[in-house]
């Protein structure tokens, strides 16, 4: 059962190692090796958990509802694997950080601290422990987002911190009130208590605090303003990592909480989630259309895609929740990849603005291919993962009779396609704009494109083996909606 601690033990080890290492070349090797180990260990965990054995562990020798428990159920396992793929590709992408400004040893230290928080959030079975992991994640992301200490970065960093700190305080207040009402912090124990509880009015106050906290993290409709204000300032390495994983941890927590224990008042919560999901999709999609800077287009895109995930949760059938999980996994890979490719465009042309780049198709057909994979996956073109994800969500929406939200989802799909075609036309097909100020045409080396190749391959595999991915997501969705097995695996020790 010690396998369950590897996702948090390995990052801690890597943090210590990178405190000691001074040479950049050694740091590069150890950082990438650490990420590979992380991927291998989460692969083993996933094989174990998806085979039907939930991994659970109670820290410190205290029995289940009292000690801090670690539980890995199918949803946690899937999230762990996909985030490890992203971690591996970003650890390679980081080799091209601007050398003089950022030292690789320092970057990897905070990088693994962030991974520690993310993995901890995925595997913990205790709500206060989840808060602690969120704070670990938050603090290291503060450092990463202001890594160069440029004026823009600090300005954006303060905006990012402001809302995220308020979110954390909501989270803590929610924990306090919930503990006051139930007397436990263990998720499985809470689920058991609240399952037989019909005083939904009393629980709703804490549920709303949690909803606001996770809503801020996940950047849903009225709470998303920190994201586009800050995601375009840090180095593209950091932005790609954040875009792929950070908001999805919020989504993960929301799915976990609203399937496991806040299920007393479905009429209110599911309608609220539907409204939020619809507005999130539309607001993000429309804002993305109006921008001409790749990072901004993609940032608004993160928001519109979060809407799909919330929609799957709100439908609340096994198919809907499975769709939300599949969509999140697909989106983590494709979104990171899209940001990585925009970084590559910037490396070749020295600009993120679509008005200043062009002619890349002729110059680098390989880069065009690398862009096509995540772009078509995000837009939902058939052989790729995004198609199956959207198909499941829309099917679940029709089956549940939620026609409005399904219509909005289809419309947002069109907007996504439009934004992707815009980047394609402007950056790849258009001729190089005439008044080029900087004559930068650097070519790309193998190390430059490797991260995108890894992510693109993962996206392709998700599309090719869509049937088994759907089965796995359905397994995770069923486990969420019927948490008996989850509760047993923690409490019956």
């Amino acid at each position: 059962m010690t396998l369950a601690v590897l996702p948090i033990l390995l990052p801690v080890l890597m943090m210590i190692i990178h405190l000691l290492i001074r040479k950049e070349s050694v740091a590069a090797i150890s950082g990438i090796t650490g990420s590979i180990l992380l991927l291998v260990s989460s692969g083993f965990i996933a094989r174990e958990v998806l085979g039907g054995n939930y991994l659970s562990l109670v820290a410190g020798g205290w029995d289940a509802p009292f000690g801090i428990s670690i539980v890995i159920d199918p949803m946690s396992a899937l999230f762990l694997v996909i985030s490890s793929v992203i971690v591996l590709s970003i650890s390679i992408f980081a080799l091209r950080l601007p050398e003089r400004k950022t030292r690789l040893t320092r970057f990897y230290f905070f990088f693994f601290a962030l991974i520690l928080g993310i993995n901890g959030a995925f595997i913990t079975g205790d709500i206060f422990n989840l808060y602690v992991w969120f704070e670990v994640m938050l603090l290291s992301s503060f450092v990463l987002i202001t890594l160069g200490f440029s004026k823009d970065q600090m300005r954006a960093g303060i905006k990012y911190m402001a809302l995220n700190l308020i979110g954390s305080l909501f989270f803590l207040a929610g924990i306090g009130l919930l503990y006051g009402k139930t007397g436990t912090l263990n998720m499985a124990h809470l689920a058991e208590i609240l399952m037989h509880d019909d005083q939904s009015i009393l629980i709703n106050s804490s549920a709303m605090l949690f909803f606001l906290a996770f809503g801020i993290k996940a950047a849903v409709f009225p709470l998303y303003f920190w994201l586009p204000a800050s995601y375009h300032t840090p180095d593209i390495t950091v932005t790609s990592l954040f875009a792929g994983i950070l908001t999805k941890v919020g989504v993960y927590a929301m799915i976990r909480f609203f399937t496991l224990f806040f299920v007393q008042d479905p009429l209110f919560w599911h309608n609220l989630l539907f409204v939020i999901a619809g507005f999130t999709m539309l607001a993000g999609g429309m804002a993305a259309i109006s921008r001409y800077e790749t990072r901004k287009i993609l940032s608004y895109h993160i928001i519109s895609q979060i809407g799909y995930m919330i929609m799957g949760l709100a439908i609340f059938t096994p198919l809907g929740v499975a769709g939300a999980i599949f969509f999140t996994l697909h989106n983590m890979l494709a979104k990171t990849n899209a940001f990585v490719v925009s970084g590559l465009i910037n490396r070749m042309r020295g600009s993120y603005s679509l008005k200043e780049v062009g002619g890349l198709f002729r110059e680098s057909p390989l880069l065009a291919t690398l862009f096509i994979i995540p772009a078509f996956a995000l837009a939902g073109i058939p052989p790729l993962s995004g198609f199956f994800a959207k198909f499941i969500l829309i099917k679940a929406g029709f089956q549940g009779g939620h026609y409005w939200i399904t219509g909005i989802a289809v419309l947002t799909g069109l907007m996504t396609l439009y934004s992707m075609i815009k980047i394609w036309n402007e950056a790849f097909l258009k001729k190089v704009p005439e008044p080029r100020i900087k004559q930068e045409t650097r070519s790309l080396s193998f190390v430059d494109i490797l991260p995108s190749v890894i992510l693109g391959t993962a996206t392709l595999l998700m599309g090719v083996f869509a049937a088994s991915m759907v089965d796995l997501s359905l397994q995770a969705g069923d486990a969420l909606l019927d948490p008996v097995h989850y509760i047993e695996s923690v409490l019956s020790k």
């Binding site: 603090l139 004026k151 600090m154 308020i166 803590l172 207040a173 924990i175 306090g176 503990y179 375009h232």
Partner: protein
């Protein structure tokens, strides 16, 4: 005691929100400190106050009348430490930003470049 603490929590939340809405970054940080302390007290209060009682059994094994719950104290302690770390980092960023821009006013800072 509960009533007093509840009023204090309310006052701290009010002061914190008021400070957050100021334009100065330093006042914003003070607001965060107020809010985090208010939240810590809220957690402490919500878990129930049992004054003057131990958190363990007598050595003979007989329970005293009522046990105090040690868990909220542990939670608050953790939260205080985390909040402290965050405030220190915020102050460091604020200091660097002030050195670069010579202003503490959020309105004086140009918005991050729009496209």
């Amino acid at each position: 005691m509960e009533v007093l603490l509840a009023i204090l929590v309310g006052v701290l939340y009010t002061a914190g929100v008021y400070m957050l809405l100021r334009r100065s970054i330093l006042k914003f940080i003070v607001g965060i400190i107020f809010l985090s302390n208010a939240t810590n007290l809220l957690v402490f209060l919500a878990a129930g106050l049992v004054p003057g009682q131990p958190v363990f059994l007598e050595s003979s094994g007989s329970a005293v009348r009522e046990l105090a719950d040690p868990l909220p104290q542990a939670l608050v302690l953790t939260a205080v430490v985390i909040g402290f770390g965050i405030v220190v980092y915020l102050l460091a960023v604020k200091y660097r930003l002030f050195n670069e821009t010579q202003t503490d006013d959020l309105d004086q800072l140009k918005p991050t470049e729009e496209d």
